[in-house]
C-alpha cells in the first residue's frame, strides 16, 4: 500500500512538472471535436444526433494519445528497470501508475464534458449521462490501454502501434457507453447500462494489471 501511494504521488509530481505533456491530449481532444462540425456541417439537429459518437471516438483517441505518458519516461531513464529489480510488485506499480494517469488524463475529459456537450447542442440530460458514462469508462480505457503501452514501451515509435492493438479492444465499452447516452436521450432507464459498465470496469481492474505487469517484465528484460 505504501508502495502504491509512493509511486502514485511520484507520478503525479512528475506529470505536473511537465504540464504541456499532460495538456496535449486534452488539446487533441478539443481539436478533434471541433473538426466534426466543420466536416458534417453546423446544423444543430445533425450535430446533436451524432454528438455521443463523436465525443466517444475523440475520447478513445485522446486516451490512446496520452498512453505514452504511462511508462515511456520511466523506461527511458531506467527507473522502470530499477523497480523491476527491486522486487516490488509490478501489479501494484501498474495500478498506481494507471490511477495517476487516470487523474491527469481521464478525469479532465469528464470535466470538459459539459462544454463539449453544449458546443455540440446536446440536451442537458444527454450531457449528464455522457459525463457519467465517461466517468465510469475512462478508468477502463486507461487500464486496457496500459497493456498496449507496456507491450510497446521498448519500441522507438510505439504510438501508432498502440492504437492498432488497443482500439479493437475498446469496442464493447464504446457500444455500451453510446447506447447508454442514446437511451438517456430517448428518456428510458439507464441503470442497466451503468451496471454493465461497472462490470466491465471491475473485470478490467482485475485482469488488465496481470497482462500489463507481464508485458512490463518482458519489455524490461530485453
Amino acid at each position: 500500500m505504501r508502495f502504491f501511494f509512493a509511486s502514485m504521488t511520484r507520478d503525479l509530481r512528475v506529470h505536473f512538472r511537465r504540464p504541456s505533456e499532460v495538456l496535449n491530449p486534452l488539446v487533441f481532444f478539443a481539436v478533434v471535436i471541433s473538426l466534426f462540425p466543420l466536416g458534417i456541417g453546423p446544423s444543430p439537429d445533425q450535430l446533436s444526433l451524432v454528438a455521443p459518437g463523436i465525443v466517444w471516438v475523440a475520447a478513445l483517441l485522446a486516451t490512446l494519445m496520452s498512453m505514452d505518458l504511462l511508462f515511456r519516461s520511466d523506461f527511458d531513464d531506467g527507473s522502470l528497470e530499477q523497480v523491476v529489480l527491486s522486487g516490488q510488485s509490478l501489479m501494484v506499480l501498474t495500478l498506481a501508475k494507471v490511477f495517476a494517469h487516470w487523474l491527469i488524463a481521464g478525469l479532465p475529459l469528464v470535466v470538459l464534458m459539459p462544454i463539449v456537450g453544449l458546443v455540440l447542442f446536446l440536451e442537458v440530460d444527454g450531457i449528464w449521462t455522457l459525463a457519467l458514462s465517461l466517468l465510469l469508462v475512462s478508468p477502463t480505457l486507461s487500464l486496457v490501454g496500459s497493456i498496449g503501452a507496456a507491450l510497446t514501451v521498448g519500441l522507438p515509435r510505439g504510438g501508432l502501434l498502440v492504437t492498432i492493438l488497443i482500439l479493437p479492444l475498446y469496442v464493447p465499452v464504446l457500444i455500451l457507453a453510446t447506447a447508454m447516452v442514446q437511451a438517456a436521450l430517448s428518456g428510458s432507464d439507464v441503470s442497466g447500462y451503468i451496471y454493465w459498465l461497472l462490470a466491465v470496469l471491475l473485470l478490467s481492474l482485475a485482469l488488465a494489471p496481470l497482462a500489463t505487469s507481464a508485458a512490463l517484465h518482458l519489455s524490461v528484460d530485453e
Binding site: L151, L155, P168, L169, L218, S219
Partner: protein
Amino acid sequence: MLNWFHRLGSPRTFFAMTSNWHPWLLALSIGLLLAGSAWALLFVPPDYQQGNTVRIMYIHVPAAILAQSGYMMMAGAAMVFLVWRIKLADMAMTAVAPLGASITFLALVTGAIWGKPTWGTWWVWDARLTSTLVLFFLYLGVMALRSAMEGREQAGRACAILSVVGVVNLPIIKYSVDWWYTLHQPASFTLSEKPAMPMEMWLPLLVMVIGYYLFFFTVWFMRLRNEILVREQNTEWVRTWVAER
C-alpha cells in the same frame, strides 16, 4: 507421456517426425474440398427462397467458423508458450496468424458477396459482421506487433500476451455487438443441435467444413515447418538437411 511431449516440443524432432505428412494431408484436404464443392454446386437442390445464391453458404460458413477457431488455435499456442516456454508453440503462433487473418478476410468478402443478392447490400453494420471485422483487426494487431519487435523471443512473448488478452475480450466483444444490433441469422451450423436445414444441404456443408479445417491445418503445418527451418538455420541439423537436398 510427458517425455513424449517434451520430445515433440523440440523443433528438430517435430520436423523429422512429420517430414512426409504433408503430401497426404494436402491430398486429403483438397480431395474433400473438391468433393464438397462439386456436391454443393452441382447436386444440392436450390433453396426455395434464395435459389442458387444459397450455394455461397458452402464457401462462406466454413470460412466464418474457421476464422474464430483460428484465433482460438493461436491463443492456445500462445498460452502454451507463456506457460511452458516451448519454442515450437511460438513458431506455431507465428505460422497461424497470417493464415487466420486471410481466412477471416475470406469470410468477410464471401459474406459481402452473399449479402448483396439476399439483403440487397454489400455491407451492413450487423452484429456478426462487426465482430468478425473486429476479429480481423485483432489478427492484424498481433501481426503488426510481431513485425515491429526486434528480438524474436521478446516478440513471441509480446504476441502471446496480446493473443491471450484478445481471447478474453472476444466473448465480451461478441455479446456487446450482438446486443447492439442484429440482422444476421443465428449460427447455421452446430454439431450439438439438430440442423435447421434439410440433410441433403447439411451433409455437403459438413464435408466442406472438414475440408476447410484440414486445408487450414495443412497450410499451417507447411508454414510451421518452414518457420522451423528459418529459425534454426544456423544449427547443424538444418545445414545437413539442406545439404542433402
